[in-house]
């Protein structure tokens, strides 16, 4: 039956091909790729090659450098392994909770677990500091407690779990809930008990998703920077922290370059493995709802317990931050004698004052304006570069199979490494504030492309054909079919770029000029200074950043709503 239709189709395509010999398709594709690839070449591959060139310099191969690299590599693996393990421990039951159970407040709890992932590292660090730090709420409320949190390995691990649990929930949870419940029922009717249903049916089918999620978490833990620097301190040197220390504090660029290359090799391997598993885990099964209300005592206990655990774990650090920013618990610097406790808005009003002897040359609020400016520039730049790439990737040909991982490469390479590359390559322009939005665009571009591409690819050709058969001109087709979908995707992608730029820490820390601080840089500086006022201001700024990030997140969710709601 299909034969003659296919034949006719082929003939048609053949004719169209003959009519349009002027522009070969590969040339059109190349034009689409021209700007994104040029940008990546100038700001990513060139700096990368400079870093590589440094390591061929003999001075990089120094016994000291090797010793530093060796211990940094060991610790990086060690903490990433532990973090991933802990994340799985919390994440897998949570994924099961969200994929299988229906309970009150579920969507809110689910959204709550996703919040940290989009939060800037400085906010998370400030949040944990506000909760468990030496000046935090716990120490204030229980003055006799003597535990130390900031500056310990558990602080790093817990912050990583806080960040990445949502990855497990999303990837494994999605796979679990898209699993046809009939498979489980069939297995049961064939004599499989719960254990065998999991062992023989569910886990084998989930395995690619679990591997993919685990690798992704590991990758994020491996390249984590802000959390480790701010919560662990410089005594916990991962590759990432060590790159920063060597490049900025020791001014030992060859050593930093060596570390960066090591880092790159590792992340490359993980990325390749991840892509493998991720592509395998995309086998879509019947997307049917498998939700049940908890009925048995065991189910109720599990659901209640995890709801409490998750809400406490995710709410406490996030809520401590605004609370701490509005309450004074200690003497400000320079004050003697009586200490005023209680509610205060000083930390916010202080942001507008340019104090002599403060850590800035400008009123701290200027950092907010800088950040907003950088973020705006990043949005424009990343959309301009992201659109052509996303269009090409929406209909992948052989070229795209090769270019897709290439364009995602900045995602795998760490922000600190991007910063290092900028220092090495464009050091003489570091006085200009313009390098920052370029670095931010580099970080945001993969996200922008990944947001636009599915929207572009999701528009079925049949819809366009139906519209044109109903009399719509090509422009009308675009206006009626493509535009409404793309408008939302563009807004989502733009907000993504905006939020990423606002929170970017690693690269900015290396390349931002002291007189043009961004919000995260300001928070880091405040946090590292003594004195209650500085601490309070870091809390205030972090609260502002958190609010901005949450508003951004809500906007993204709103704009992607009609599509899938899942990453």
């Amino acid at each position: 039956m299909n034969q003659p239709i296919n034949h006719g189709d082929a003939q048609n395509t053949e004719m169209i091909k003959k009519l349009r010999v002027s522009v070969p398709p590969w040339l059109g594709r190349l034009l689409l790729w021209l700007f994104p690839l040029s940008f990546l070449t100038i700001f990513f591959f060139l700096p990368l090659s400079k870093i590589l060139a440094f390591t061929f310099d003999t001075s990089a191969f120094d016994a000291d450098n090797f010793r530093i690299a060796g211990s940094a590599l060991r610790f990086t693996f060690y903490q990433a392994f532990l973090s991933t393990l802990l994340t799985l421990l919390i994440g897998l039951p949570s994924a099961y909770l969200f994929a299988r159970y229906d309970f009150r407040g579920k969507s809110i709890l689910r959204a709550l677990t996703a919040v940290p992932f989009m939060l800037p590292t400085v906010v998370v660090a400030a949040g944990f500091s506000a909760l468990l730090g030496p000046r935090g709420l716990t120490h204030t409320l229980f003055p006799l407690s003597s535990f130390q949190f900031i500056g310990t390995l558990p602080a790093i691990l817990i912050a990583h779990v806080f960040y990445n649990t949502t990855i497990i929930i999303r990837i494994v949870g999605t796979a679990l809930s898209s699993l046809d419940p009939k498979l489980e029922q069939a297995a049961r009717s064939l004599g499989a008990d719960t254990f065998h249903v999991w062992k023989n049916v569910i886990l084998p089918l989930l395995r690619p998703a679990i591997f993919a999620a685990t690798l992704l978490v590991f990758l994020f833990d491996f390249t984590s920077f802000g959390v480790i620097l701010l919560l662990g301190g410089s005594k916990f040197s991962t590759l990432e922290v060590e790159i920063y220390l060597q490049a900025v504090r020791q001014l030992n660029l060859p050593s930093a370059a060596l570390l960066a290359v090591l880092q790159l090799i590792c992340t490359l391997i993980f990325s390749i493995l991840y892509t493998r598993f991720a592509s395998r885990s995309t086998i879509q099964l019947a997307p049917r709802s498998t939700l049940i209300k908890p009925q048995t005592l065991k189910q109720k206990l599990f659901v209640t317990l995890f709801c409490i655990l998750l809400s406490a774990f995710f709410l406490l650090p996030l809520s401590s931050l605004p609370i701490r920013s509005l309450f004074r618990f200690e003497a400000d610097r320079g004050q003697r004698g009586e200490v005023q406790y209680g509610f205060t808005t000083d930390y916010y009003t202080e942001l507008f004052i340019n104090r002599r002897g403060s850590v800035f040359y400008v009123p701290p609020i200027q950092a907010t304006l800088n950040s907003l400016g950088y973020a705006g520039a990043t949005v424009v730049l990343s959309l301009l570069l992201g659109y052509p790439a996303a269009i090409a990737l929406a209909k992948p040909a052989r070229l795209e199979k090769f270019l897709d991982p290439l364009i995602m490469l900045p995602l795998g390479s760490s922000a600190v490494m991007l910063g290092l590359g900028f220092i090495i390559t464009y050091g003489k322009w570091l006085t200009s504030p313009w390098l920052v939005p370029f670095a931010h665009t580099l970080v945001a571009l993969p996200f922008v492309i990944r947001t636009l591409q599915p929207a572009l690819a999701s528009i079925p050709q049949r819809l366009r054909q139906a519209a044109s058969s109903l009399g719509a001109s090509p422009f009308e087709v675009w206006r009626q079919i493509d535009f409404p979908i793309l408008r939302r995707a563009t807004l989502a992608a733009g907000t993504f770029a905006f939020t990423i730029s606002l929170g970017e820490f690693g690269a900015t820390l290396l390349i931002a000029r002291p007189e043009y601080p961004t919000i995260p840089i300001a928070i880091e500086r405040f946090l590292s200074q003594p004195g209650g006022l500085n601490y309070g201001q870091s809390m205030a700024m972090a609260t502002i950043l958190m609010l901005l990030a949450i508003i951004g997140m809500l906007a993204i969710e709103k704009f992607r709503l009609p599509n899938t709601g899942e990453f």
């Binding site: 498979l183 029922q185 069939a186 049961r188 009717s189 004599g191 023989n200 089918l205 086998i283």
Partner: protein, 333 residues
């Protein structure tokens, strides 16, 4: 013998199953026939143990299974969308239940081969299930259920996803397999043709209740209620009022019907006019009207009249022609 006694089930405040009782005798196939939403799939899942009822008893050979978990019931289940394990090949899918029962390698191989032979898929053992056609996948699902030699087989709209020709072939094959293996079976469908082809007994489910139960021929001949007659599409249904003993006044004229149900004057009853012309000598009832449509149906013509009634005739009248046909009128409860 499977016995289902007084099953009740509410779902989101709605009574989905309202006092369901029936039994399936050794080697018999019963068919649960009902529209979508009639609760038939839920009933099947309750029998399988995949869902629990609010009250009622499921027992097999006198043994109460109501609280037995599904994997210990030994009931085979075949779904509409096959539910084959995508990560296993055909052999491993069929062997799954045997593996769960820890049956030895040699016997497993043997029973898998036997099952695949029963469904005529002998050469398919090493194929990936995702590469098979819909009909082939359903055969594998059937083989998988047969391999465990279940004491009861259950089918949940097993042919619903297949096209018509394939459906007929598979249905006949299924009928033969059920006869040969003598496994009692419950077959759920909304398709009456399927039901009448495969079932020894038909149970019609409506609004959570079994409203008619009997052999296909019995149900066909005596639908008993207007709902059953309407659901089975037995003919023209309309209301009548009792004006005298066996005399009914309707909008299509007055009919004389020997009614097995007791009626008194003024009662409203449902009347059924089968669309086949009847012997004019024996039937006093005549249906007449102007022809508005004639549809060719292989060996007959479906003739629709202006009053909305239809009748099958061997020869095609002209549209606009006025015709009168002797018909058999039945009264319903």
């Amino acid at each position: 013998m499977l016995e289902v006694r007084n099953i009740f089930k509410t779902y989101e405040g709605r009574l989905l199953l309202n006092d369901i009782s029936f039994s399936v005798a050794e080697g018999k196939t019963i068919c649960l026939l009902g529209a979508s939403g009639s609760g038939k799939s839920t009933l099947l899942r309750i029998i399988a143990g995949l869902e629990s009822s609010d009250s009622g008893i499921i027992s097999f050979n006198g043994l109460d299974l109501t609280t037995t978990p599904p994997h210990l019931r030994d009931f085979g289940l075949v779904f509409q969308d096959y539910a084959l394990f995508p990560h296993l090949n055909v052999n491993d899918n069929v062997a799954f239940g045997l593996k769960m029962r820890r049956i030895g390698q040699t016997e497993t191989v043997e029973r898998v081969a036997t099952s695949l032979k029963l469904v005529s898929l002998t050469e398919f053992g090493d194929r990936k299930v995702t590469d098979l056609s819909g009909g082939e996948q359903q055969r594998v699902a059937l083989a998988r259920a047969l391999a465990i030699q279940p004491r009861l087989l259950m089918f949940d709209e097993p042919l619903g996803a297949l096209d018509r020709a394939l459906r007929e072939d598979l249905l006949n094959e299924l009928r033969m397999i059920l006869h040969r293996t003598k496994i009692p079976a419950i077959y759920v469908t909304h398709d009456q043709e399927e039901a009448f082809t495969i079932a020894d007994r038909v149970l019609i489910l409506y609004d959570g209740k079994i409203i008619r139960e009997g052999t296909p021929a019995d149900v066909w001949a005596k639908p008993e209620s207007a709902i059953v007659a309407g659901f089975l599409g037995l003919g023209n249904l309309f209301d009548g009022e009792v004006i005298a003993q066996n005399e009914f006044q309707t909008e299509h004229g007055t009919f004389t019907v020997k009614c097995i149900y007791k009626h008194s004057r003024g009662d409203k009853v449902h009347l059924l006019v089968r669309p086949l012309p009847a012997d004019a000598q024996r039937e006093a009832n005549i249906l007449s009207g102007v022809v508005t449509d004639v549809i060719f149906q292989q060996d007959r013509f479906k003739v629709t009249l202006e009053n909305g009634l239809y009748i099958y005739l061997p020869d095609a009248p002209k549209v606009g022609q006025k015709i009168s046909v002797s018909v058999k009128v039945e009264c319903l409860a």
